[in-house]
């Protein structure tokens, strides 16, 4: 009797006799392949090398490779030694102690500068008497002799009424201020310089009204200033000193003066953000009565207004900003307006294609148009580009403004923002007298 195992074996052999020839024949016909074979489509397992053509073609990049290696090593070292953390920590500490160092650069060298602001605006804890009180001091200087020092005391929301008060003490020394004469048609080729030393005490008292929703806030305040200004020859070997060319009769205030000011300011602000507005705007109006002291024959009223409005175009990353501004100084009787208190145009804050303080006169009227659009965003960092156009003019008497006298400047800005606040503003402005460059840490408006 066949064992069970033998039976299975015989059965299996019979099965194989039938199945195997079939499977074998199909195996002969089937095109089977090792899908994951090491046989490569191109080349073989040898170190990849550039061909001669590639070597020649890549040669222009070889010197740059060396630079890269150096920079990479430094970056790795910085991160490995946590140098970035150390610097960031130290910088944070400096700010924590209230010090805010900044620098600024204008193409016109005397305006380059370094500032340090010591901010102790949170000297006291909020109380029912004063919500916030503090002291701010700042100090700026540059290698051309510009120097300023100031201190400001503030008390906000007194007795929870919205009333506030500020006291400012300021001293400034400007070694080389440009002066091109009075009027809209002065020549850039005929320029003078003067040195200005000024001491200023200012007190402001006001009330802030806050409105619900989109209506923003309104500030109404009164101010009193005392100023003492001393003018002398500017420090510039190449340019003419103002005191050699003018006297008090040909240019009021050429030796400075002492005067006080009483005035009022009204400001309405409904911007959605002060640092980076996309809609809303602000409107400021100031009236200041100035009167000479100790025999100085100054007496005039200064009117100043400025209004800016922002509009989103299609989305909040494209913003149009329009600003109108003007200043009018009206003499009282036959008294004088010192030239250093005249309306001025030119430079980063007004006509950006013209030099700083390029135009002086009793009145000015100007406007700016900016289109701010975002081209890059990464985390909290942003880069905005800003084409702009500035138009404006100074003029002598009220009502004498003429469109034909206006100066036009245009240009572009690149603004680097962190957390929707401009940190670096690089601007290039061009006008009919040339091109100006600016590096600043905020926006003109």
């Amino acid at each position: 009797m066949m064992s069970l195992f033998r039976k299975i074996l015989v059965l299996a052999a019979l099965l194989m006799a039938i199945v195997f020839p079939l499977t074998y024949s199909s195996a002969q016909d089937a095109s089977s392949y090792d899908k994951y074979t090491e046989l490569l489509h191109k080349g073989s397992y040898t170190k990849e090398k550039d061909t001669f053509v590639e070597k020649v073609g890549n040669a222009p990049a070889v010197p740059l490779e060396l630079t890269k290696a150096g920079i990479e090593k430094v970056l790795i070292w910085v991160e490995k030694t946590h140098l970035n953390d150390k610097v960031s920590y130290a910088w944070g500490k400096i700010h924590e102690w209230g010090f805010h160092p900044t620098g600024q650069q204008l193409y016109d060298k005397p305006q380059n500068g370094y500032n340090i602001l010591w901010d102790r605006s949170k000297l006291i804890k909020a109380s029912p008497i004063v919500e916030n009180a503090g002291f701010t001091a700042w100090n700026g200087l540059n290698e051309y002799g510009y120097y300023d020092a100031a201190g400001k005391l503030n008390a906000d929301n007194i007795l929870n009424t919205g009333l506030y008060a500020n006291q400012l003490f300021k001293y400034e020394n400007r070694e080389r201020e440009p002066f091109y004469g009075v009027g809209h048609d002065t020549s850039r080729g005929v320029s003078y310089t003067y040195k200005l030393q000024a001491m200023n005490y200012e007190t402001r008292w006001g009330k802030e009204f806050k409105f619900p929703g989109f209506f923003g806030k309104l500030n109404v305040e009164g101010q009193y200033d005392f100023r003492r200004v001393h003018i002398s020859g500017g420090r510039d070997g190449a340019k003419h000193n103002i005191e050699n060319r003018f006297n008090e009769s040909s240019l009021a205030g050429v030796h400075g003066g002492e005067y006080h000011i009483i005035g009022a300011n009204i400001m309405h602000d409904d911007r959605n953000s002060v640092d980076d507005p996309t809609y809303g705007g602000y409107r400021k109006f100031t009236i200041l009565y100035n009167q000479g002291l100790n025999g100085d024959q100054f007496e005039f009223v200064k009117y100043r207004f400025e209004a800016a409005q922002f509009f989103e175009i299609l989305s909040n990353k494209n913003v149009v900003g329009i600003r109108f501004a003007g200043e009018s100084n009206s003499r009282v009787g036959h008294k004088q307006i010192p030239f250093f208190e005249m309306a001025r145009l030119g430079g980063w804050s007004s006509l950006r294609g013209y030099e700083y303080n390029r135009f002086f006169d009793n009145n000015s009227l100007w406007m700016s148009f900016e289109y701010r659009y975002n081209v890059w965003t990464f985390k909290r960092f942003k880069l905005d580009l800003v084409p702009f156009l500035d138009i404006g003019s100074v003029y002598g008497e009220s009502g004498n403004f003429a469109m034909a006298d206006t100066r036009i400047s245009y240009g572009g800005a690149a603004r680097w923002k962190i957390r929707d606040r401009v940190n670096i503003d690089f601007e290039v402005g061009h006008g009919d007298e040339g091109t100006q460059f600016y590096v600043k840490y905020t926006t003109p408006y």
Binding site: A30, E38, L39, H41, A61, E79, N318
Partner: protein
Amino acid sequence: MDNPMRRFFSAIFLSLVITAFGVTNVSAQQTSVSPNLEELSHAKVKKKETSMYADFFDKNVYDRGVQWFYIPRVFRKMFNLKKPSVNANVYDELPDSTFFTNRIGRKDMTAEEIVKGPEVTTGPETTGPWTIVKGKFEGITPGFFIKDAKGNEYLLKFDPPGYAELSSGAEAIASRMMYALGYNVPQYTVVYFDPSILTVWEHATYYAKSGFNRPLTMEKVTEALKDINRTPDGKLRASASLKVGGILKGPMSFNSFRKEDPNDYFRHRNHREIKALIVFASWLNNHDLRKGNTLDTWIDDGKGGGYLKHYLIDFGSSFGSAGDRPKDPTFTFEYFLDYKDVAYQTATLGVFEPDWKKRWETNHKTFRFPSAGNFDNLYFRPENWKPEIPHYAFDDMTLGDAFWAAKIIMKLKPEALKEIMAVGQYSDKDVEKYIYDILTERQKMIGQYWFGRVTPLDEFELKSLGGGKAEFSFKDLEVFYNLSNAAPSYRYRVVTHNKKGKEKVYQGDTNFSGSPLELDLVSFKSLGKFDVVIEKLNSNTGKWNPPVILTVSSDTSGDGFVLAGIWHADKVKK
């Protein structure tokens, strides 16, 4: 029958069975073999370094600028020519290597296999004690290097405050998916533990926020953990990554190879698995692809030498997570410095909204689940997906590389993925379902896009029918995965290619409707080797997609033919 006889017959029987079935289905049985690795001594391998700043500078600043000085690259860019991946084999696949192992691409993996992933341990022993050997307090969320009771070393990383489960869940799931897809990854486990099991090694240090190295104390650990999310029973949740075995040799470049490694043959930018990494990353939404998130380790082969194994690490920036916070709106839409987008925005005065902005506005500047982060498929376009920094390798990806990656991605079955989601240990099942839904939808979108750009045929078999006739069978992946409603339409031609790649046509374009394709090849037999070029009609554009080229050679031992090569071409070329 005695035992030796029984064993003899059994052996004969088994060998017959194996031979029979083995011959008929070699491709299914074939086991992978890594290239023969040359011995490499540990001392010879340099330890490399990188940093986040160096990666950003190197790739986003230097490479982007200097690429214009590499004339051949400029030339290729101008004419949209792309180098084929040098490590792809004759069948348009990748052989297993120290970079990549064909896992789900080779055979189906069960959910259990994928969940197991690269598992070496089951995670740190939560009974403790865990000794902190080093603190990692840079950044928003703290981390610790710990040693558990068994002596295994892990890196513990916590979820960002307010976003419980965000990065730990993403890392656990994404790492397993990447493992299944074929990459070498460390083991990541979600752990819950009582902070009381933590102890501090007496020599442990940490880098304080001031940038100085300080001794680590328990007080400091407690302070660091005070903002970390806790479970209702006071436990902490973390992602625990097991220290990779072998001797750590620093990061792997996505661009060049290690000169000292004899097994590192090709510049990494020409590797298919590196080039196509962007396709896998687009699925997992892992934007943090950079040198700093790779690791080379020297593995002792036990024969006195060793070899280098290349890992991808850190998957905490997958899905909606950016590691220490939810993804920023621009992530995956723009590089850190995206010159092209900046130029476009500049030139168009910012009038056109970028996709990231449209998406962010549509989502009302928020996202549905804090644990899922900023993750959805709104404005997701597989071809436009971007990591945080660009790489030459990704620029150079061919359609064939993308097809290869998409093909592997499609192999991960939705039902398996559903089970894998459990490793994220989300407390809210809605979050798990939300991420799963996005992943499955995105998987389909990726398949649909890349399959739609090529002739998406795969799994070719060539059967000689005798008399010079042969039958090609294949699978159209677009049809197989039901990604297109249009009836497929194909054409083929028989050609030979000269050295410059120019075709000499022996049989002109002939339309056919699908697999199998029966051809009379008798008149081409004398050529020895020839190509059958198959193209699929793109139903959207009405044009023929770049072809798949089948290289056929005459079987010298008989009157049949064998399939000698498969290549998914990048361009329609005649």
